[in-house]
């Protein structure tokens, strides 16, 4: 600091401590609650000394909330979204930056306009699309009287309804969330900073575009990819609305949705201890990812906006 301000410095630390406690309070409190037996949790006010029922509650929550399956689902979804997003947006940015084709700007703007819309806004059309992937093709099919053609071909009357539903499946959970304008934009910005000489040198050496992509762009984008992995993993894990809509089969629920079954309803016995134990399990993976990859995370979060 510039000058000596002992009082202010002390105040700073005190306020920081208060800030940390306020931010951390909900979590500390629920950790304590998760260690108590039910009689103590429902006491008013709840004791603030941790009990010894932690593992019992964790186990109860695990079984009740079917967390084993749900966590696997969440993991597959989050990993799928992360991987898909990075691949799609890298290739997209690659095409936009390095290939000079007609309508390139149009493509870029379209990508932008459509993808800035979060899934929350386009739930209805996306849902219809996922419910029947061939839905948009059905009118074309009808229009061309392919039915007639098919029946003539098969020799008897058949009605063809094109249907391929993604509801209750991993692709259904993942695909609608894969498209990402933010990632595409980030990679585009990054590719633009790579000197053009590099591309030309690669061309001179006879590298095909894909070799250039694999051998030069990929290694250069390592840090960006790491940062995005953190952010997108957290994003994927925490998705709520879309999995809620698309999954009806309890085996396909994601962990965050599954938690809802643990929250005590008004008339139940207040098993808050178990609910909170389950909550802790579910929030652990993304928190760990953020904490251990903090450096990448901060970089990924702040950099794209610069």
């Amino acid at each position: 600091m510039v000058e000596k301000t002992p009082i202010l410095d002390t105040l700073t630390y005190i306020f920081l401590l208060i800030g940390i406690v306020v931010v951390g309070f909900p979590i500390i409190y629920s950790i304590i609650a998760a260690t108590l037996p039910i009689e103590e949790v429902s006491q008013v006010p709840m004791p603030l000394i941790p009990g010894d029922q932690f593992w019992v509650n964790i186990q109860a929550a695990w079984e009740k909330g079917n967390l084993g399956t749900n966590l696997v689902n969440s993991f597959i979804m989050a990993a799928g979204i992360t991987f898909g997003k990075i691949v799609v947006s890298m290739l997209g940015a690659f095409s936009i930056v390095y290939f000079d084709y007609r309508f390139r700007i149009v493509a870029f703007v379209t990508v932008f306009c459509t993808l800035m819309l979060p899934v929350e806004v386009r739930i209805l059309p996306t849902y219809e699309m996922a419910a029947n992937l061939f839905g948009p093709l059905q009118p074309v099919w009808d229009l061309l009287h392919l039915d007639g053609l098919a029946s003539w071909f098969a020799g008897h009357e058949i009605e063809v309804a094109l249907e391929w539903s993604l509801l209750d499946s991993y692709p259904g959970l993942i695909l609608p969330l894969v498209a990402s304008a933010t990632c595409t934009f980030l990679f585009r910005q990054f590719f633009l900073t790579i000197p053009e000489e590099l591309c030309e040198a690669a061309k001179m050496d006879g590298a095909s575009p894909m070799v250039f992509f694999r051998k030069i762009l990929l290694p250069l984008s390592k840090t960006n990819i790491a940062a995005l992995i953190v952010i997108e993993f957290v994003y994927g894990w925490n998705q709520y609305l879309w999995p809620l809509l698309i999954t009806t089969n309890p085996k396909m629920l994601t962990a965050v949705i599954g938690l809802q079954n643990l929250i005590p309803a008004a008339d139940d016995l207040p098993y808050w201890n178990e609910a909170l134990a389950g909550t802790l399990i579910v929030m652990l993976p993304p928190v760990l990812v953020v904490l251990f990859m903090q450096r990448w995370f901060v970089k990924g979060l702040v950099d794209p906006e610069k």
């Binding site: 306009c113 806004v121 979060l301």
Partner: protein, 260 residues
Amino acid sequence: MQSFMRSDPFGQRNTFIWLDNFIALFTDPLYLKSIGTTLVFSTCVAAVSISIGLFIATMANRALKAKALIRTMLIWPYAVAPAISGILWLFLLHPSYGVVAIAIKRWLGIDWNPVLDGNDALFMVVMASAWKEISYNFVFFIAGMQAIPGSLIEAAAMDGASPFRRFWKITLPLLSPTLFFLTVMNIIYSFFETFGVIHMMTQGGPGGATNILVYKVYQDGFIGLDLGSSAAQSIVLMSLIIVITVFQFKYVERKVQYAG
């Protein structure tokens, strides 16, 4: 397309009714109320989380020791899902078990009951949503503050400006781009991503007091099965976010020019 049609609940017939869905929407008192709720909600969330985030970041920037530890302790809530933040606060503010609820009742003498009282419920969802965003804002403010050249602050200190004055006259104006960006981001967040919070905590109740626009799209479309109206609401939201995006990009471009 769907927004111009009226579907019967079983999806058998679609009738083309032009803009009737939109007209119905904007004359519907419930929808207008929902717009109002959303505005109040997002303003509160943005204001609370930005001011706390800024405050903590200022403090953390002043701290000399244990910087990394402090940062770590403040960053992790970002990773908490909105829905999970909803559960945590639901417990803390539970009218019969929650410790914060008890404190409110005892010390402030307010008859706290978010299950019945709309304002209490709104307060509850604002708390849960804002809490999660504090760390997001914190990360940006810290990054913004570290980008401010130390020489500027030192020069001001030489001229005898007190730390508070330096904050108001130097740090805050230099942070204004960050502040603006965060305001936009927080509003987008509270418009869309808080769906999980609302769904976990209040489901739009009591009496529509926390029924924000995104939740209404879901409710009308997937529970009420009024697909036309829900689609029309989606269109309204879409145009809204496009406006916000365009606005933001205009601004970003200007900032780039300014920097160059």
